[in-house]
Subunit: 224 residues, 2 copies
DNA sequence: AGGCAAAACGATGCATCTAAGTTGTATGCA
DNA sequence: TGCATACAACTTAGATGCATCGTTTTGCCT
């Protein structure tokens, strides 16, 4: 049995990431406590963790606001991802482990292909995460790996999942990943770097197009 | 009056950063609660925040361990800092705001010089933070700015303050900062990048030399 | 003396209770 | 009607109590 605060944390995070709690809404400790069936103390702890992750903003005596994602936030996340992945590529090549890493990434890419054939968008998304995480983790810098993981979370919130469901998107991603593996295997740092810029930035562009209409700045109480 | 949890947070963080709580020690909620004169609830919240920042690791029913810093951690922090600052330089130059940023940094540098003349190590350190933060913030990426700030905290823990007290260190830092400002003003991205590598990495090297003997892996109860 | 089991101790996890702050509303007055 | 004020409802901040779990110590047995 998981701890109560862990359950509260996972549940609220899930709701935020899936969009069940939209950006801008106010949620309260008592509300979540009732829904999850625990007392308010563990919920408070979950809220604190989520605030640390940047998903909630706590207003004393008022409630917790689900942080809205702005167009600027998307740019920041995309930009940070490019920075981190480019560093990872350089580090991996510098270490000389790029052939092995490229091999592992290719293996993931193969799995991704089968998911694409089965139109399994969720599986595809998970493997996409693995693909990029593999690269970043191979750089061997814990700090950067952790940040990268949290960026993935935020991107999920921005609706990447929905994006991947668009027709033809699978193929584009696969092709780019394939090229990425090839360039990495060859140790072509600059090549990977420029490709990455395009790959990730393209995702960002598409994101901004797909959404971003319903941004409001004011607070609204969550209506159950 | 600050909130109780805020006080607990600041106090414990201060003790960790100053080394009053060494890495590897176990501290407990009750202990801190008594010392700060509040109940355990706000202390628990402070512990959670500190765990999120990577300064504490919580062991259920056992206590909170002050995370020890290993040589590898130092490398990670140094490496991450170089990555972020290099990005910042490129971004600032790309935006074309580098002349203004360089000007602001030069202003901070001037203040730093007066502190150095007065042998005010604390003031010097604070301004060093400002100097680098100015550059990173100018890149306009919140995510990267936040991470950079947290890295500064960790570096403080690693004993940078003590390092700066070594004779002649002020001058080296000042000279490097001065050159950095010049290169940035000229928009010489690659030049700043390579200088940065040396500047920050040198700090890391020195750090590793100055400390790192007393690393032990086991837990020891804090003896008051 | 050495080993082991059980009790005592100490820590956290969570629920609950009180206090205090904030918001929105209703009321009275100009 | 418009505005200030009082108040009621709701929320969090913090304290406290208890149950549970891990650790240590103690005391008995071999």
């Amino acid at each position: 049995m998981r701890s109560a605060s862990e359950r509260a944390y996972l549940e609220v995070k899930r709701r935020i990431l899936t969009g069940a709690y939209e950006g801008g809404y106010l949620i309260t400790e008592g509300q979540v406590a009732d829904e999850v069936g625990i007392s308010r103390t563990p919920v408070r702890e979950a809220f604190l963790r989520l605030q640390a992750e940047g998903l909630l903003r706590l207003y004393p005596k008022r409630g917790a606001m689900v942080v809205p994602v702005s167009a600027h936030d998307i740019e920041d996340v995309v930009e940070a991802r490019v920075v981190l992945e480019r560093f990872a590529v350089a580090a991996v090549i510098d270490r000389g482990t790029h052939p092995q890493v490229a091999k592992q990434m290719t293996a993931v890419l193969d799995k991704q292909r089968t998911r694409a054939r089965r139109s399994d968008a969720d599986g595809f998304t998970d493997l996409d995460r693995d693909f990029h995480a593999l690269l970043v983790d191979a750089a061997g810098n814990r700090i950067i790996s952790d940040l990268y993981a949290s960026l993935r979370d935020r991107q999920v919130r921005m609706g990447v999942a929905a994006l991947l469901r668009e027709p033809g998107r699978f193929e584009e991603v696969l092709a780019e990943h394939e090229q990425l593996c090839r360039l990495l295997a060859d140790g072509d740092g600059p090549g990977v770097a420029s490709l990455l810029g395009g790959h990730i930035t393209a995702t960002g562009e598409a994101l901004r197009g797909v959404r971003g209409e319903d941004r409001r700045g004011h607070l609204r109480r969550m209506t159950t």
